[in-house]
């Protein structure tokens, strides 16, 4: 277990050092890249809660990236640039959407749940496309980044990087506490054996719905971050292939582990970046790689860590 902690600590230190290293090597692009990785890592952390620990195969998580992003974009469109307000709305709106979608879908099981979460995300995607006011298909530019009353300037790439880094750590830790709390144990129990969970006296639905909402809210935060990172918001945030990507991050990294989502985000996005540099048709390589990873690499990267990666 000591070895595991050391390796993870080393990873954290490495992440801390990226801006300095990148500046040294005159490659500022890496600050952007790793920041993007960390934003998606936050999305993956949120999905890990309901997918990895809860066993709810939500194929619609990209919806909350969209809701979070558009919250920031729409408020900015109307001249509201206060970051505290924007990001609070992003989180609250995502939680609300998750509540509505969850209330309908969590009652269903298995393949229905997968298809329904996918369908609802697609619905939001079409909604985004058809509202011309906010750019329709092309989306909106975020001309002014979220303002935090002078505390931090998101226009400064390094400052923004460290903010995302801090948020990733916070979200990872929050999830860690959550899954080991009474609430978290019920969620995990419902995944492990639903009949047994009902027999001892838990009705899984309210817990799973709550987890679904928390998960959506966290992902909404990632959406707000993404909007500031890219400088624009489009319906493509909610493209269902994006949902699939986030799912892969959770799986590749190792489901139901703390470092898993970040590891998975890193692996997938860096791999995409490398492959894309190679050929424009990188998906023809990534596709089969993903298939192979599902067939042969189920335990994920965290499973390679000493101690097995499992959080207990």
């Amino acid at each position: 277990m000591r070895a595991r902690a050391l390796i993870l600590a080393a990873c954290v230190l490495l992440l801390l050092a990226v801006p300095a290293l990148a500046t040294l090597l005159k490659q500022p692009y890496y600050i952007d890249l790793i920041r993007r990785v960390m934003i998606f890592a936050i999305a993956a952390v949120s999905l890990n809660l309901i997918l990895g620990y809860g066993g709810l195969v939500s194929f619609g998580h990209a919806a909350y990236l969209g809701v979070g992003g558009y919250s920031v974009g729409i408020l900015a469109f109307y001249g509201i640039h206060n970051g505290w307000l924007q990001w609070s709305v992003a989180i609250a709106a995502s939680a609300l959407v998750a509540l509505v979608i969850g209330a309908i879908s969590v009652r269903t099981r298995g393949i229905y749940f997968i298809m329904i979460t996918l369908a609802f995300t697609q619905m939001l995607y079409y909604l985004g496309i058809s509202v011309e006011e906010y750019g329709g298909d092309d989306g909106m530019r975020l001309k002014v980044k979220s303002q935090f009353s002078g505390l931090i300037d998101l226009g400064d790439p390094v400052a923004f990087y460290y903010l995302v880094f801090a948020l990733l750590l916070v979200c990872t830790y929050l999830t860690y506490r959550l899954v080991n709390s009474r609430f978290g144990l019920v969620i995990r129990a419902a995944k492990s054996n639903e009949a047994r969970t009902r027999a001892i006296g838990f009705s899984p639905y309210p817990y799973q719905l709550a987890a679904f909402v928390i998960s959506g809210a966290l992902c909404g935060l990632a959406g707000a971050l993404l909007a500031n990172h890219t400088g624009y918001v489009t319906p493509a945030y909610m493209d269902w292939t994006r949902s699939g990507e986030i799912m892969f991050m959770v799986i590749l990294g190792g489901m139901a582990t703390s470092p898993g989502p970040a590891l998975g985000a890193f692996a997938l996005l860096v791999a995409e970046d490398l492959l894309a540099g190679w050929t424009e048709h990188w998906q023809v390589i990534l596709g089969p790689l993903l298939v192979l990873s599902v067939l042969f690499f189920r335990r994920g990267l965290a499973g390679l860590l000493p101690g097995g990666g499992k959080d207990g």
Binding site: T108, I111, A119, Q122, Y126, F248, L295
Partner: protein, 307 residues
């Protein structure tokens, strides 16, 4: 409201519904019998369209091209089953979703490599172009009528095969008790491959019929796939009857909604508001319908027995 216009849109909805049905039937069969969630079903739809375009160009003959396209999709489907999907039968749905998602990326990019990303044009022979007079003074594209016809014929044939033939009996038996069918000495592997190929051919048929109406381009399968999911959720998993009812309902509601919701809304609220809200609401209509059905009947309208 122009009654003839409504009727035309109803026919459009029927045509769309028929294509949804062909897709849904294949998908729901595969899920009902092999317990396999296959996201790459949309890719087979796309393969059907592309192979047919290529075959028609190559042979210069539409009927021959269609036949080759269908046969090609059947082969691709069965190859896919043998090479990639067999190992997934034992896995849980999450693994199946992820693996078939990887296949989608692969197929879309492969098609883009072979044929580029711009939409292809699928030409129709002269005898399929033109219009028919459905009402005096109102004409409707002949091709769409043919599509509806083909879809209904295939639907009837499907019903016949499933309800009245030995193969259909095996299919229904396999859906409710896989191990029993295997224990009876039936070659389950072969049955699965045949069923999957069948489903692939249906998807390919839908794809090649869609070619002249919608765009033939990479990613075309996924757009319709999600609507097929809505069909299956509404109709109920594993049931052909559910697929038919669901498909017709979704097809008609979606088409009528897109055509008439904006003008309809314009009667109640101000035109600029209707202009904005109409299309948005229309595109959300089938999902709202799905939510409604789920609220009332979580298993869908005609679920097959779970087995």
């Amino acid at each position: 409201m122009n009654l003839i216009l409504v009727f035309e849109q109803l026919l459009n909805g029927l045509q769309f519904g028929v294509m949804l049905f062909l897709m849904a039937a294949g998908l729901t069969l595969v899920f009902g019998i092999m317990n396999l969630v296959n996201l790459a079903h949309g890719s087979l739809y796309m393969v059907g369209a592309y192979l047919t375009v290529a075959a028609v160009q190559w042979t210069g003959s539409y009927p021959l091209g269609v036949l080759l396209g269908l046969a090609g999709t059947l082969v691709v489907g069965m190859l896919l089953e043998v090479v990639a999907l067999r190992t997934l039968y034992e896995r849980d749905h999450l693994d199946q979703v992820l693996a078939t998602f990887g296949l989608i990326l692969f197929f879309n990019e492969l098609i883009a490599i072979l044929w580029g990303r711009t939409a292809l044009f699928m030409s129709l022979p002269s005898y399929l172009q033109g219009h028919v007079e459905i009402f005096p003074g109102s004409i409707y594209p002949l091709y769409r009528v043919v599509v509806i016809g083909v879809g209904l014929v295939v639907g009837a044939a499907l019903w016949y095969v499933v309800a009245k033939t030995r193969l259909g009996m095996l299919i229904r038996a396999g859906a409710s008790n896989r191990t029993m069918v295997a224990a009876l000495g039936i070659n389950i592997r072969l049955l699965y491959t045949v069923v999957f190929g069948f489903g692939a051919a249906l998807a390919g048929l839908a794809g090649l019929m869609a070619g002249p109406i919608y765009a033939v381009q990479p990613g075309m399968g996924e757009l319709i796939l999600i609507q097929v999911f809505v069909v299956i959720v509404i109709g109920g998993i594993g049931s052909i009857r559910g697929a038919l009812v669901g498909a017709l309902v979704v097809g008609v509601v979606d088409t009528l909604g897109r055509a008439f919701l904006k003008p309809l809304l314009g009667h109640f609220i101000s035109p600029p508001a209707a202009e904005a809200a109409g299309p948005a609401l229309a595109s959300m209509l089938i999902y709202l319908l799905m939510a409604l059905v789920l609220a009332v009947r979580p298993e869908g309208l005609f679920p097959a027995k779970s087995g």
